[in-house]
């Protein structure tokens, strides 16, 4: 398991930027790496805590599945929803091609 001891590198930041679909300039990459390193460095204080056997808390409430009867109700008006989209064709969201198929 990785520890927090390794300082985040520009390669790491470039990798997470790519995962998050963000494009960074060289200058941004340098700046963000330093800033993220400072935040992660501060976060290292939790490493000292003994948390062996402590269950994680993901949510402040005891979450339970919420079930309800399947009742047909009105949906958002299609025209209103599509009106907010950047590009629409034949009542659908239009996007550039997804795979390398012929256009």
């Amino acid at each position: 398991m990785a520890t927090m001891s390794a300082r985040i590198t520009t390669q790491d930041v470039a990798h997470v930027a790519q995962l998050a679909r963000l494009e960074l300039t060289e200058e941004e990459l340098e700046r963000f790496t330093g800033q993220l390193a400072a935040v992660l460095e501060h976060a290292r204080d939790v490493e000292a805590l003994d948390t062996a056997g402590v269950a994680p808390t993901a949510h402040p409430l005891p979450l339970r599945n919420v079930l309800r009867d399947d009742i047909v109700g009105p949906s958002l008006p299609r025209a209103e929803v599509l009106a907010a989209a950047p590009s629409v064709e034949a009542d659908r969201f239009r996007v550039p091609r997804i795979l390398g198929e012929a256009p």
């Binding site: 790491d12 998050a20 935040v39 501060h42 994680p56 409430l61």
Partner: protein, 497 residues
Amino acid sequence: MSAPTTARGIAAEVRSGARRAVDVVEEHLVRIEAHEGDVHAFNLVLADAARAQAAAIDEAVAAGRPPGPLAGVPVALKDNLCTRGIPTTCSSRILEGWKPPYDATVVQRLAAAGAVFVGKTNLDEFAMGSSTENSAFGPTANPHDLSRVPGGSSGGSAAAVAAGFAPLALGSDTGGSIRQPAALCGVVGAKPTYGLVSRYGLVAFASSLDQIGPFALDVADAALLLDVLAGPDRRDSTCLAETAPSASARLGEGVDGLRIGVVRELADAEGLSAEVRGRLTEAADALSAAGAKVAEVSIPAAVYGLSAYYLIAPAEASSNLARYDGVRYGLRAGRAAGTGDDPADVSAMYTQTRSAGFGAEVKRRIMLGTYALSAGYYDAYYGKAQQVRTLMVRDFEAAYRDFDVLLAPTAPGTAFELGAKTADPLTMYLNDVCTIPSNLVGHPAMSVPFGGGSDGLPLGVQVLAPALGEAVMFQVAAALEACAPPVPVSPMRGGSR
């Protein structure tokens, strides 16, 4: 120009017909017209819509229909709350111009209660920040001193109330985004118990932490507003099913016999000014003199709150903000000039849209969260932070066995200069050190104005309560308000500096 009164006062006068809602809204629009250019509290002022809403309230009064508990009261809405057909930007380029096809539940409830919406308020982009400087549309200024920040992320809402643009406003609080700006602007701000108020229509930042809550000029007004907002909602599965206890139930009962704990780790938090610590001691002494049993209490895990929060909140944000992809709403970047042709493939569209649409702080948080969740780091960062959260829950449980409510500072100091902390994100994050624990455990907490600093700017003291302890929290807050030293009032609202 007549002085603004409380929401309670306005609603009572409008209901009785002593004052017309259209006149109330006009008085506030005049004040907005005079000072909004300096403050920039709003992304959008809804002058005509507000006049129409007010006229409808007056008609209801004239016709003998009940106009609601907030009849004719101007309310400002943080611009991350969805308003049907009205732009909702989250102060982000990526949502610029987007008009939601539905109203947030809180917006519906306010409208049904007779409130009049005067505008959508500025915020740090997607509520990520503590100064409202991370807005794509420029910062908001503090109405007490235009060279200072109003705090954040709900800085526009706090400033709107402090400036007298509206006696009430809504904010959202993920790590202190209601309480910290309330303290810096000298108004009351409350984060309710997680699940007390529906989040339906609140644009998500960190879903296990976000809560909507009230800003007001005094404690009773904040309680009145919260009571309108609270309650089950089938459209938010994390909204509590039980009926909430009224926040107003115990106002005016004093604090005689209540056990109040001063949280040692927050009173000694890193970066806290001596002045803030002094005011906290004064507040504790005043409550003790009023009959409360005040003692120090330890929440050992609170020391780790900031670290845990800045792993958990970005992790949740990185997931929530994946939805901004240029497909269904908002910005789509990378289109060719002239032809308007889309980027060559969908991946390029995602990347160009998100890179152009998000500001620096949002990008930082998304990357921080993506990193904390990524293979090889998940256990060391996100997993560890979740365990800290458990320790904090246990610490608070232990504290509430001995105490009814807890006391802490709200913010580390008074409002800082615009630009003072923008270069160093970590310094900015330290603003939230005293407010974060309540979000991590899902408990209610609120900031009450408590005098000012030597710079003449307001300061706040924070009251924390166990889950669904709103009634006792507001009870103590009202007592604190009653014994507080004079709180600075913005010149825009008739104060002097």
